[in-house]
Amino acid sequence: MSRALGPEGRAFRGGDRHRVAARPGGLAGRRLAASVAVRVTGLALAVLVLGHFTLTHIVTDVAEADAGYIARRWQSALWLAWDWTMLATALFHGAAGVWIAVEDYSPDEPARRRRQLVLVAVTLALLVLGTVTLAAGSGA
């Protein structure tokens, strides 16, 4: 496929207005669902991430948040639940945001699809890695 052309007939550059091909299956409904999901996960992250950062950098000095600190914390099922929820929510929220940025700045459809595929692959790999780390760290 040839490179998409911008409004003035030259090659597309980021910031050009371009038509994102309408996808079948209720695009407006999916946009609404996606924007609600980003806001709900954002509200959850406001508590989860600020709580995490406050505890590991401000209440506890970062020098003391060592392996012993992790070992003590991951003995608690509540902290494991906190950390896994934060991991999954943050990855989803971040990937959704980068997905939209890729849609805005990608020159043409193949480039956009390629970048979104890399994004999804990296996000899923990190979700698996984080889950394995939590499982191994809890001694399960």
Binding site: A46, L50, D66, A67, A101, D104, Y105, V122, L129, T133
Partner: protein, 167 residues
């Protein structure tokens, strides 16, 4: 310096380079389609207008929200990798984690706090704008509050994070 620390520094360098590159793309495309001139000699003059005419503050908040969001996501990717060394060996994690307490990393963490604070507070503002159907004036006042809270909380938290390196 242990290999694992060098690996982390390489990762952090890649994260920072990625953020700078992403910010350049956002700002270049904004200059082309965001409307109006940007940081020029007229900037201060435009800034002196009455508050309700300063609608472009929302545009700047949008760019900053994008860039901080990308930066936090990029660091999250590195952070999941660095914590995962704990599963390989707690000793390896401790070796790597020693970096976090160094002065340059503490400065980085203070910067990360500022990015997280702005992205969180501005995100809460955006939810409030939708939920409470706030108008342009109310949402601009909320944006000023977001900026003020980011500076105050970021300075206080940043001082706590950085202080041990200079004690």
């Amino acid at each position: 310096m242990p290999a694992i620390q060098l690996l982390f520094i390489a990762g952090l360098t890649a994260v920072l380079a990625g953020v700078v590159g992403f910010a350049a793309v956002v700002l270049a495309s904004a200059a082309r389609s965001g409307g109006g001139p940007h940081v020029t000699s007229g900037f201060l003059r435009r800034f002196a207008r009455p508050g309700r005419e300063r609608a472009e503050l929302h545009r700047w908040a949008f760019y900053l929200h994008r860039i901080t969001g990308f930066a936090i996501f990029a660091f999250l990717c590195l952070h999941i990798l660095d914590v995962s060394t704990y599963a390989l060996s707690p000793a390896l994690y401790d070796e790597l984690h020693g970096l976090y307490a160094t002065a340059p990393m503490r400065v980085f963490e203070a910067g990360l706090l500022v990015a997280i604070l702005f992205h969180t507070l501005n995100g809460l503002r955006l939810v409030a704008v939708d939920v409470a159907d706030m108008g342009i004036d109310a949402s601009r006042r909320a944006l000023v509050a977001v900026a003020a809270l980011t500076v105050v909380l970021g300075a206080a938290g940043g001082a706590v994070i950085v202080a041990p390196a200079f004690a």
